[in-house]
Amino acid sequence: MEYGYYPGCSLTGSAHRLDKGIKKVFAKQGHTLREIPDWNCCGAFEYGDRKELTGFSKRNLEKARGHFSEIVAPCPACYKNLKEADEEREFAVTHPLDLFDEAFFAAMKQARDLTGQVFTPYYGCILLRPKETAIQNTNIMEETIARFGGEVSGEAVKDRCCGGNQIFINKDVTEKLSRLVLDRSQGTIVVFCPLCHMAMKTFSGERKVVYYTDLLLHIMGEGGAL
């Protein structure tokens, strides 16, 4: 299947790992991602004026019109902004996690399992709230980890805020909030958001921080140890 792809700014920069991971996972599953031509920034959370903020994503939808009906946006902020700007629900604005259904796993070639390893799927905020834009199955990563034999930790903190969007404003806020998540969870931290990745990575010490795409590709046999 062919999807429109909205990488957003961070996936073309500091979150290039997530961008490559998504592209690889989709390719391996037999799907094509085609970038929305000349897309612009979604505005993330930086604009106090709602009209200005949705204006950015409306421009992107305009550019997608006629080319795609389904748009995949991996960054939680981009995903939320695009979905909210699509007031008439003209497009299916989709987060990759919502594509993880039985057919997805049936098509997935498993080369490794996760037996004996502990993971904390850390969703953070925007994939879970507000309800209108939340992903459909808020246990999808726990189910995925368990499906491949891994152990799940951090249930109580999976929806806490890491303070990532304050990291370049009040770093102490991010440190305090990220540590609350880190202290109440175990094993490798699996994240979905570039800001969560940065917040966790900055304060995780020896703990590993990976994107969910890293984990999927690991199960599919890519690369060495996680």
């Binding site: 000349d38 920034c41 303070g163 770093k171 305090k176």
Partner: protein
């Protein structure tokens, strides 16, 4: 017009919309800012907005709200408190150097070009003690040229 009124004009809310607030303080019980500044209560801020009173730029809620939407998720009316706070920050002019650089990049290129943002924020990053984290951030480094979005 008071700043708080102007801020509300930027949101999907008007003052009267907060009349539905039940005062249940569920928002306060889940608000992330409580982990940083105990006793924070978004409902109290909404009440002041409803009454047309001021909200100050240095209040913990205005400074530290992370936009986590925990309040919205728990509120019976799903009031989007972080969007109100974001508008207040805008109106009160509390943007950090980083936020200014972000917006600067968007006006210049139509996208956030991280090297530009970092360059603009260097003095802040040096002063703020960010350099000690740089070794942990090496995996984020990569080179690409800026893209200029047409018509932005």
């Amino acid at each position: 017009m008071p700043k708080t009124e102007q801020a509300l004009e930027l949101t999907d809310y008007g003052r009267q919309d907060f009349a539905v607030c039940l005062g249940c303080k569920i928002c306060a019980s889940v608000c992330t800012v409580n982990d940083l500044s105990p006793g924070t209560n978004p409902q109290e801020m909404l009440q002041r907005l409803f009454l047309g009173q001021d909200v100050a730029a240095d209040e913990p809620l205005v400074r530290f709200c992370t936009g986590c939407y925990r309040c919205t998720g728990a509120c019976p009316w799903e009031i989007r408190i972080p969007e109100v706070i974001r508008a207040l920050r805008h109106e009160l002019g509390t943007e950090s150097p980083f936020e200014k650089a972000f917006k600067g990049s968007v006006s210049l290129f139509g996208r956030v070009y991280e090297p530009y943002v970092l360059m603009k924020a260097v003095p802040f990053l040096l002063k703020g003690g960010y350099m000690k984290h740089v070794t942990r951030w090496m995996e984020y480094v990569g080179f690409h040229l800026p893209h200029k979005v047409k018509g932005m």
